[in-house]
């Protein structure tokens, strides 16, 4: 071969190596690894679906003082409306308990069961988790497929499947539920690989999901708060917090008798009230697989040796009476949840009796001023118990 041709081809080869090296460096620089966290920053109170789906990030962000709290939309409660939210209480002082909030709107028992299995694989501090359960999860027909698909995380599911501590029955139950909810065969098979093509699909799906999470975590890293770390952790004064909460509730709810936050009441609730009367009269809170999903979550916790505190959130009594979901229907739902929890090695913080208490919720379903303080007190006691 001509010497000139040989040299140009060797140069082309070197250029190829250089291009690949630059591309890899660029990917790593623009999209840092999921496990990258900034020192001295607390990410526990960041409300984010991306964060919740990244085991590597959460694992890196947790300390031995962390307590995992699994929930859904209530975790998004803005501090400007409810100054008693967890970040304002546990994030501003060192009480020896740092919450790691996991989940976002539409995450329900099935998602949490998958997340629990995935996170347990990485290690859960204290071997304890809190699960906030909302009656709204138990609507007839269960969660629809389109909504679930938006929250399904391949990374969590593959990690869940890889966890040898999760019982086979639970894995098989989750697999069937995923099929029912329309998760495609390719995704399911690649998380349970047996054929060569499953391994290839798993490789591609993992790479794509990793890049998606890396991209999403860029903005999550900017939302962390300064980590408060004292030599001697103090104890929160829940009594004075509650007094303040009652006062804040009274100040922020002046336009209605239900104790709903003024902005929400005048902007969203009041205009829709006329049409809402009796509109949900057919609801039974019984015809749903959600109870079995909750049972599956608790089965996994039992098998993995995780202590669970289920926080049972109430719905706003006067509003739900008004729209036709009667007290008997709601009580039946609460009772079923209590019964499932009691069948397992789990504790329950039952707030279902607070449906008519002003300021406990700030709108129709989410914890409000006094509600958050009472929930935080229970969570703190749960964290400290046996510590």
């Amino acid at each position: 071969m001509d010497k000139h041709i040989l040299h140009t081809r060797l140069a082309a080869l070197a250029l190829g190596v250089g291009l690949a090296a630059c591309a890899i460096a660029l990917v790593c620089l623009l999209f840092p690894a999921q496990s990258e966290t900034r020192p001295g920053v607390d990410y526990g109170y960041v409300y984010s679906g991306v964060k919740s789906s990244s085991v590597e990030f959460v694992e890196a962000a947790m300390t031995e003082e962390s307590l995992m709290v699994l929930g859904s939309s209530e975790l998004s409660t803005p501090r400007r409306l409810v100054p008693q939210v967890p970040v304002q209480v546990f994030g501003k002082a060192d009480y020896g308990v740092r919450l790691m909030l996991i989940g976002e709107a539409f995450d329900q028992s099935l998602w949490h069961a998958i997340a629990l299995g995935a996170y347990q694989d990485a290690g859960i501090p204290r071997n304890k988790v809190v699960l906030i359960v909302t009656p709204g999860w138990f609507v007839d027909g269960g969660q629809d497929s389109d909504t679930f698909k938006t929250r399904f995380s391949y990374s969590l599911y593959s990690r869940f499947n890889a966890n040898a501590n999760v019982p086979e029955e639970a894995k098989s139950y989750v697999l069937n539920r995923l099929k029912q909810l329309g998760i495609d065969e390719t995704t399911i098979s690649s998380a349970n690989p047996s054929l060569p093509q499953d391994y290839l699909n798993a490789f591609a799906l993992k790479a794509l999901d990793d890049l998606k999470l890396r991209q999403g975590l860029i903005s999550v890293r900017d939302k962390g708060i300064e980590l408060v770390d004292e030599d001697t952790p103090s104890t929160p004064d829940f009594e004075s917090l509650r007094k303040e909460a009652e006062q804040t509730g009274a100040e922020m709810s002046t336009t209605n008798d239900w104790g709903v936050e003024d902005g929400f009441y005048t902007g969203q609730l009041e205009p829709a009230l006329a049409d809402a009367a009796g509109s949900r009269a057919g609801e039974t809170y019984t015809n749903t697989p959600e109870y079995d999903d909750l049972d599956c979550f608790l089965d996994i916790a039992d098998a993995c040796g995780i202590e669970v505190l289920v926080v049972l959130s109430p719905e706003m009594g006067p509003y739900y009476d008004y729209i036709g979901i009667g007290k008997d229907v709601r009580s039946n739902c609460y009772e079923q949840v209590r019964s499932i929890v009691n069948d397992h090695n789990a504790q329950i913080a039952d707030f279902s009796g607070r449906e008519y208490e002003k300021y406990f919720l700030y709108e129709i379903v989410h914890f409000g001023w006094t509600g958050w303080v009472d929930v935080e007190k229970i969570i703190y006691e749960f964290a400290q118990d046996g510590a």
Partner: protein, 60 residues
């Protein structure tokens, strides 16, 4: 009788084409090398190929 010209093999055809189109050949070498290395990086990073063989020990 005229001797029949021997038909070149496929490799000879490719070599001859590459010699006549050196720029295109070099560009292809660059792209294929870069793609293969990126593929290798992604495989090592995401296939779990380098992970511990827990699945073997789990059998015992």
């Amino acid at each position: 009788m005229a001797l029949k010209k021997k038909k070149p093999t496929r490799i000879q055809v490719i070599q001859s084409w590459m010699s006549g189109h050196n720029r295109l050949t070099c560009a292809t070498i660059t792209l294929v090398t870069a793609a293969m290395l990126m593929g290798l990086f992604l495989f090592v990073a995401f296939s779990g190929f380098g992970a511990s063989a827990d699945f073997i020990y789990n059998q015992f």
